[in-house]
Assembly symmetry: D2
Homo-oligomer: 172 residues x 4
């Protein structure tokens, strides 16, 4: 039985439609509800709801909070998924990589361009892929989106294309 | 074969999630895509995309445009559904009722509190109900939402409850 | 607040996929789970699970049971929906009409050609339409399917077309 | 851009509900329609519809056909996914492993316990996982189901549990 922790921080993947305000907002945790749609008999997935923020609003204190939680969970010797807004996902991942120089577990950041539960959402795909990728990769920090697992220092969000792409340098 | 016209004007029912802007917007017509999910072998439903506006942004010129299209379609001697934002649905309906004193067909306004294709959307329910209600009601202007068919002068949106309720006076 | 009773008897609308047997079967009640997807603030819908049978397996005892339950619920002075397999829906409806000559409430039979929860299912559409139609029709027995409300003596299932059609005689 | 071939052979994952027969059957290819729901900007996925059979009906000729197609596609130097019924997935995989002793690409068999498009289906999860796993595994034959990637000689279907489990021997 593989134990996996999922730290949720908000971002588009967890946004919901507020009927009161007529807008999409980070209000409630949605990750647990969607992970339950997956069949994972060999995994024990523990969800740790940490914050529920648009990643453009994440500040150094928020990232310190993420780092603290990652450090605490790493003591359990289990891989970690962090759900996160895509706009600053690379920034948070780079920060974690720098602060955790001797990782012995993979940390995977993932998210979505359209919220879970909205038509055409990529959220459940990215969660599913992350749970598979972390079983194979070396310790380190990764971004998993849309069928690709990037080492965090090789990913960047292309706002024009509306997706992640490989940053400069040779691809694996 | 019953002919029905559906004039689409925008509103929440047709909003979509813009990945570029991270917000819900009235961009594309969605009504046709969702009506195709219904089986209606005895109906010929013609969709007339008129505008795609948040109903709070509808102005007198927009309502004149709706009235003009309704007048044109009434010549076909067929009932009409108008999909519309909920915030000013009663206002548009009241305007149509006043301007069309001798209707001989029913006009049904409907919409949604959550966009078509978002989890928990009421859009397809309201469309389905409208197509059934218009087969039974007398000529006049109605609002169909959430299992209830209101004569337009008896409906009001309760923003606190987030739904339509009967306005004062005895219920049928 | 309109009270409505929904008697469930099985049929395709409630079939589920049995992973053990690799087939579709009438096992569990599904109607309640799908009705909860509808917003019906002005209705109190009570579900009465009576049996869970393929309608080809319904025998005179089963129909007597349906009749008994209908008689009991009619004392509540509320309209009744019966979810039922389509193959013998007309037979059960005709039986009820004959046995209940002085109805003062509408009874609507409905069902589906594809089970609730299967892609392309017509089940929720038919339930939604039934809840609207029963607010308008005179006392009597009806079949509501695919946008049409048939008096029971005017409906027949066309197995070739895979849907209900008007039986001979002038349409309303 | 990673090229991947998906050979479809039928099985539960591709079953559909036949309204005519009231049963689930292998009739049409569904894999392409569901793969289109995934965002895979870095992959070129080519679907090769080979047959559409319940895997209990697959005979030696069918398996020879699968082998022939695999051999042909291996010339393209790309990983291969085979969608397949779960009942004889291990048998087909073992056959391929025996007949292809010097593989230099991974071959992943996957399928589902509930058809694509049925509520609670595991089909899209398994496809998503397969597309991720094949990017990491050594050449060889694998079964990917429910979050686990099994070397084919280590997987067996547990009919009581209704899922795949590790066969005897130490787990990785």
């Amino acid at each position: 039985m593989l134990t996996v922790y999922v730290i949720t921080t908000g971002g588009t993947i967890e946004k919901g439609y507020s009927e009161k305000h007529g807008s999409v907002e980070n209000l409630d945790n949605k990750i647990d509800r969607y992970l339950r749609l997956l069949r994972l008999p060999d995994m024990a997935v523990s969800i740790v709801p940490l914050m529920n923020k648009d990643s453009l609003d994440m500040n150094p204190e928020d990232r310190a909070l993420v780092l603290g939680m990652v450090r605490a969970l790493l003591k359990e010797n289990a891989p970690i998924i962090i759900t996160h807004g895509t706009d600053t996902m690379v920034e948070t991942g780079t920060f974690l990589e720098r602060e955790l120089p001797s990782l012995d577990m993979p940390i995977v950041l993932t998210g979505a361009l359209a919220p879970l539960g909205f038509e055409g959402s990529d959220g459940l795909q990215n969660l599913t892929e992350s749970l598979m990728a972390l079983q194979f990769v070396e310790p380190g920090v990764y971004i998993v989106m849309h069928g690709t697992c990037y080492p965090v220092n090789r990913a960047k969000k292309d706002h024009g294309l509306g997706r992640f792409v490989w940053s400069e340098g040779p691809q694996p």
